[in-house]
Amino acid sequence: MISISDLFIPLTIAFILIFGLFKKVKVFDVFVAGAKTGIATAFRILPSLIAIMTGIVMFKASGALELITGWIAPLTDPAGIPKELIPLALLRPISGSGALALFQDILGTYGPDSFLGKVASVMQGSTETTFYTIAIYYSATKVNQTGRTLPCSLTGDVTSFLFSILAIRILFP
C-alpha cells in the first residue's frame, strides 16, 4: 500500500529540481554550493547539541519524571487531568524521541481510540520539542539572550495540553 505521506518528500525534492531545470538553473552545481553552507551550520550547532542532549538523557535516566508526576498529582487530580498523561506532558517539550516512545506506549496500553489515546494523539500533534528547538535555533546565531522565547513557548505547551483534554471531551462526548 502506498501512503501519501511516503510520497511527500520525494515529490517535493523532484518538484524543486524539475522546476529548477525548467528555469534553466544549473541544478547540480547550485545544489552543491548550497549544501556547502549546510556543513557550516551543522558544525555551528554541534556544541549546543552535545550540551542539551547530555542534560536531557541524564534527566530521563534519573527517574525524575515519575517523581515529579507524584509531586504534582495533588494539583492535577482535582483539576480533572488524567495522571496517565502527565509524564507525556512533562517529557514532550524536552525529548522528542522520549515523548514518541511514551506516546506509543499509551496507544498500546489504553488503545488509540480510547479517551486517553485520543488526548495523547492531539497533545503529540499540537506540540513540539520546545527546549531542543530553542537551543538549536539560537545556536545558529550570535544570540545568547533569548528573552521572552522560553516563557512564551512554554505557555503554548501548557495551553496545548489543557486544550487537548478539553477538545476531546467536547468533540467526542
Partner: protein, 198 residues
C-alpha cells in the same frame, strides 16, 4: 537562559537519581547523552546539506519568491519590519511551508537558515530580535495541517479512524498559537517598560 536550564536539568537529575537510587544510570547517561548528540548531528548534517542545497536551487529558480508571496498575507502581519521580498522572509516562508505539510526533516534545516538570515539583520547583537522570538515561538507551537506521523502510529496500534483527531489538532494548535502570540506581545510591553527603568 540556556545555562540555567542545562544546570537545572543536571542538578535535578542528580537529586532525583539519589532519591530513586538511579544514580549509576544517571552517571552512564552523561556519556550516553553526548554520544546521542553526535549521532543526531550526523543525521542532521545530512538533512541540513540536502535541504540547504535544494533551498539554493529553489531560490535560484525563483520558487522561494513565489511561496513567500503566497504566504505574505500572514507573514507580513507577524514579522513586522522585514523586507517582504528579502532572503529572511523567503527562508521563513519555506520553513512554514515545510511545517504545514508535516515535513519535519525539512523544517529544521530551513528554520536554521532563516535564523541565520535573521541574525544578519540583527547587527551582531547578542540579544534576540523581536522577529527571531516570534519565529522560534512559532516553530515550537507546531503548526501542521496533516499530522502524518501521529496518524501512522495510530494506524499501527489498530485505530479504526487514525485521522479522526485531525480537527481537534487544528483547534488546539490554533488556540496555542493565539496564546503564545498574545504572550509575545504582552511580555514585550513588560520588557520595554523594564528597559526604560534601567
Amino acid at each position: 537562559m540556556m545555562s540555567w536550564i542545562l544546570t537545572g536539568l543536571i542538578v535535578l537529575s542528580i537529586i532525583c537519581g539519589l532519591a530513586t537510587g538511579n544514580l549509576s544510570k544517571v552517571s552512564t547517561a552523561a556519556l550516553e547523552g553526548s554520544m546521542n548528540a553526535v549521532e543526531m548531528f550526523i543525521t542532521l548534517l545530512g538533512a541540513l546539506c540536502l535541504w540547504s542545497g535544494l533551498m539554493e536551487v529553489a531560490e535560484e529558480a525563483g520558487l522561494t519568491k513565489i511561496i513567500s508571496r503566497l504566504l505574505s498575507p500572514v507573514t507580513k502581519r507577524i514579522f513586522k519590519g522585514l523586507d517582504p521580498k528579502g532572503k529572511a522572509m523567503q527562508a521563513i516562508s519555506m520553513n512554514m511551508t515545510a511545517n504545514l505539510l508535516g515535513l519535519g526533516n525539512a523544517a529544521t534545516p530551513l528554520g536554521l537558515s532563516a535564523m541565520r538570515e535573521l541574525d544578519m539583520l540583527n547587527g551582531g547583537s547578542t540579544r534576540a530580535s523581536d522577529n527571531m522570538i516570534k519565529f522560534v515561538v512559532l516553530n515550537t507551537a507546531s503548526i501542521q495541517l496533516i499530522p502524518t506521523t501521529i496518524a501512522a502510529l495510530r494506524l499501527k496500534s489498530g485505530s479504526q479512524a487514525p485521522f479522526e483527531i485531525m480537527p481537534a489538532v487544528w483547534i488546539v494548535s490554533t488556540a496555542a498559537l493565539i496564546c503564545t502570540m498574545t504572550m509575545v506581545y504582552l511580555l514585550k510591553a513588560v520588557d520595554s517598560r523594564h528597559d526604560k527603568h534601567q
